[in-house]
């Protein structure tokens, strides 16, 4: 299993490393520059401001460099070639593990390194200590141990990246249009965000779970972290059931 995962990692290593490099540089540069136009209370505020852009388009970055490979393996019948050599579930399981690791790192590394840049590399901001109460999610962690806060949030974002990638992965197992496969998770996140907002329940959005500081602290509770990811998992299962049971589409053919 481990050997297969290594082989699968090799297949997607180049695009993932390139995307990771680009995102890390972009996030770090934005974290060290964008905050100048904002009022900053703590150094880690610069990280939140600088990573806003990635928070908007992250579903594309965890899907595009990772999921294209599975689609092309189906299309050029490489999957059929593996059929007599390896168990189907075993092969797809190894592939998912490799993709999951890639998606996790694609989120974790750029976020965490940019946090290090924001905290220790950029020129120290003129910190205006708030006179009144300063409200932020996990306030103590955020203000007193910002690096630990960044580490935990980056890990969490990595996990959400894995769920989002799984969405693209399931579509790549059954889909016939590469553009739909690679952009569907992004469109889903945008639509889900829009629908929850229209319904007046923005605390349940996937975006809220990904970026808990996007709403005021009063609106956030434990459900905000669970609802969005759970709903996405449900949608993934429904899509898989729709393709396999209703449309009777096989994974091993395009």
């Amino acid at each position: 299993m481990l050997r297969n995962i290594k082989l699968e990692i090799k297949k997607i290593a180049s695009p993932v490393l390139i995307a990771m490099g680009v995102l890390t540089v972009l996030n770090s540069v934005l974290s060290c520059t964008l905050y100048r136009d904002y009022t900053v209370y703590f150094d880690i505020d610069a990280w939140e401001i600088g990573t806003e852009f990635l928070g908007l388009v992250f579903p594309l970055f965890v899907t595009v460099p990772v999921c294209w490979e599975l689609y092309y393996e189906r299309r050029n019948h490489f999957l059929v070639y593996t059929l007599p050599r390896m168990d189907k579930r075993h092969y797809l399981g190894s592939k998912w593990c490799a993709c999951a690791l890639a998606a996790f790192l694609l989120m974790f590394i750029p976020y965490f390194i940019s946090a290090v840049f924001a905290l220790y590399v950029k020129s120290p901001a003129v910190i205006l200590f708030p006179e009144d109460y300063y409200g932020h999610i996990f306030n103590d962690l955020y203000t007193q141990t910002p690096l630990l806060y960044a580490l935990l949030l980056s890990l969490w974002k990595g996990l959400l990246g894995v769920i989002t990638m799984t969405f693209g992965f399931v579509l790549a197992l059954y889909g016939k249009n590469i553009f739909v496969i690679l952009t569907a998770p992004f469109i889903y996140v945008i639509l889900e965000n829009f629908i929850w907002s229209v319904m007046g329940l923005p605390m349940y959005r996937f975006v809220t779970a990904f970026e808990p500081s996007s709403l005021s602290i009063e609106a956030i509770h434990a459900g905000s972290f669970i609802a969005g990811p759970l709903l996405m998992c449900g949608v993934i299962v429904l899509i898989a059931l729709y393709y396999s049971k209703l449309k009777k589409r096989a994974v091993y053919e395009v």
Partner: protein
Amino acid sequence: MMVETFIQSVLDGLLLSLCCLGLMGREKGKFDCLLPFLFAGVCLVVRQVFGFSTADLAYAVLPVNTVISFMFLFLAVLLINSIWFQRVEGHAFYGTIAAFALYLLLRELCLVVFYLCGVEETAWFLYVSRVLSLMLWLAIWAVGVLRWLREQLSDGSLTVRIIVSNTAILLLLILVVFRFDLSLMFRWLPVTAGTLALLLFVDGIAILIEQHRIQSQRRTKLLEQYLPLVEELIEQVRARQHEFNNKMMAVSAAMAAANDLEEAKSDVASLLQNAKLDSIDRELLKCDSKVICGMIFGKSKQAGLKCIRLDVSMAGAFLHRSLPEADWAEVIGVLIDNAIEASSPGAVLYVKAVEENGGLLFTVSNPHHALSNVEFVQMFKRGWSTKIASGHGYGLFNVRSMVERYKGKIIARNEAIEGTHYITIGVLIS
């Protein structure tokens, strides 16, 4: 305000859909008239959702005014294209980029022209320029540029992909740098014009490099195809040379053995009767291009199989003309093939290359009843053929296109050779 937004979005959607249709081609079984509505809807939605600006000219070029909102517009158009047009991924992706490149080029060009003409009314920039862009699209479509681009994109031409990507990125970059503010763009018009000139320069170099690569590939292909035939010809000449040496020895012996001059003359004449090169081989050895020599030699063999004889006369050089060697080979191939196909067994075809008025006149004559000028003109039209099956009738059309491109002349005339009526088709290239 809503009505204005609606009208502008419809015009934007129409231009965008026409650009996509032109570069992706029509799709069987789908109503093309629905596509503009679809794109107009996308333009309207994107503009309403991301439309934060109230400035009049903020949406003069695109229905968006930030990079992020442009990304949404691009993704929406890409998705629609990939679903609507059942093309391969490369064509769908680069076709969408090309559609945006064309859209931006037409819109920015029209706006700059209006600015240079001193137009100040906002309505002209918002509505008339959009209509003018549509008319420009029609003009580009009518001259066949879009069809050519579509074919190149479909074939996966790397140069065309680079050019359309360059164009789209640069034109978008101009908008981004000027923050989608037209007044700023007009104020810095020399920068915009300079950037566009640079774009044209880079694209021109890319096209030249691609042309050079194509020419090299064609030349290599021709060499691979026809050089073995030249070797065969040389081998044939060598064999004759051996035979010729033997004949010379016999002549020498005949001279020594002859009793008088008359007897010697008679002996030598009878011995040398066959001691000469075949006329076609002798003529072909005069040819300065090995590729063309090999090709005509091959054609003569091909004609021989049909019991048709080629009478070749070479009195001019093919190389160092305006027409490249590869194109010469194509022209000659088409003319000889047509003549062979139009002749019956036992016929003699005349292939001549002569210097005339500083150019090379290459003609092929085959037995045929006299044709009128109208028939000769008809012959060079696209799709004209004497064959019933489709896929014919492009040879002479290609010859005409090639000759016109290199400022040459097409020669077509009726002739009588040794009492038989011939038609002669050829080219004059300087």
